[in-house]
């Protein structure tokens, strides 16, 4: 059966660490990094990328528009 898998790319340098995307993700893909970017923000990163369905939720709530989403059909 074909399954849909997703992946996201976050622009770490432009992320402001607001954590809004974390709550928006239904499959708990995103976590906050312990490291900071050059502006001093703990940036968001896709810690559990295998769980991503490419639903766009994180990207459409990111106030800074720094998330890009990809989605592909995978033959199981």
């Amino acid at each position: 059966m074909a399954k849909v898998k997703g992946a996201i790319v976050i622009d770490y340098e432009k992320c402001k660490g607001c954590v809004i995307c974390v709550a928006a993700c239904p499959t708990s893909v995103i976590e906050m990094a312990k490291e900071v970017n050059s502006k001093g923000y703990n940036y968001a990163y896709p810690a559990n990328i295998e769980e991503c369905t490419g639903c766009n939720n994180c990207a459409i709530v990111c106030p800074d528009g720094v998330i890009t989403v990809y989605r592909a059909k995978v033959e199981a």
């Binding site: 402001k16 954590v19 990207a59 528009g65 890009t68």
Partner: protein, 254 residues
């Protein structure tokens, strides 16, 4: 399948619209202004009218909206955006014209301009971002500040006996014959973002049909002014702002 195999141009499903510039937004982390900007620009992109639209930026945190919205823009004096938009629309009736304003801008210093533009039924769209406070200048009380809500000029909470009652501009303009579509939305969760975008789309579609003034309020957060984290602020907004400023369409065309 590994993420690196999915991250390919042919699998792209969402990226920031080209109608937003690559400038880093000047807003605080988690501020709803960024989302409100982006969905407005997405609507213009989806309608294919980016080149035919002129926006008017306010005074307030979003004074620099023209740095972020990659379309023709004019910045107006505090509160005067609907008057400036009126002038632009009357000179260029075939262009799409909108204002983007905060609550200090639209509901305090610009009350007269807002009400009269709506009452004249100017064929413009007004995007009204209501965070219940003057964000830019340090979180002072606005006409929209809730009863009991703390601000830097109402540190013990807004006392309505002393400071007057909050003003529901959106309900007010809905009563005017010049408005055709008046709606109140939010942008803090995916569900709300999708609904808000639909409302903004409808506003511009009605402008295309020359239906008079269309008005979309976005109830938003001001984490810095409210002195909360973005996530706390969004929760506080749901618990306190939404009961007073209920979401949904207030006026739709017959």
């Amino acid at each position: 399948m590994l993420a690196k195999d999915i991250i390919k141009p042919e699998n792209l499903v969402y990226q920031k619209t080209k109608l937003m510039t690559d400038n880093v937004l000047s807003y605080c982390p988690g501020c709803g202004h960024g989302t409100a900007h982006r969905i407005t620009m997405e609507v213009l992109e989806e309608m294919g009218i980016g080149d035919e639209t002129i926006g008017v930026a306010p005074v307030g945190c979003s004074v620099l909206a023209y740095e972020f919205m990659n379309i023709d823009m004019q910045q107006a004096a505090h509160g005067r955006a609907p008057a400036v938009a009126t002038g632009i629309k009357r000179c260029y009736p075939e262009k799409f014209v909108f204002t983007y304003q905060g609550d200090g801008d639209l509901a305090a210093i610009g009350t007269a301009e807002t009400i009269h533009a709506c009452n004249r039924g100017e064929n413009i769209t007004i995007i009204f971002v209501n965070n219940g406070i003057y964000g830019m200048t340090g979180g002072q009380m606005a006409p929209t500040t809730l009863p009991g809500m703390r601000s830097s000029t109402s540190p013990y909470g807004r006392d309505v006996n002393l400071m007057g009652n909050p003003l529901k501009m959106t309900e007010l303009v809905a009563q005017l014959p010049g408005t055709s579509f008046v709606s109140r939305q939010a942008v803090h969760t995916p569900k709300h973002v999708r609904k808000a975008k639909k409302a903004i789309r409808q506003a511009f579609e009605l402008q295309k049909q020359k239906k008079g003034t269309t008005f979309v309020e976005i109830v938003s957060n001001c984490n810095s002014g409210w002195k909360m984290t973005p996530v706390q602020a969004n929760q506080w907004m749901e618990e306190n702002m939404f009961p007073f400023y209920p979401l949904g369409d207030i006026k739709v065309p017959e």
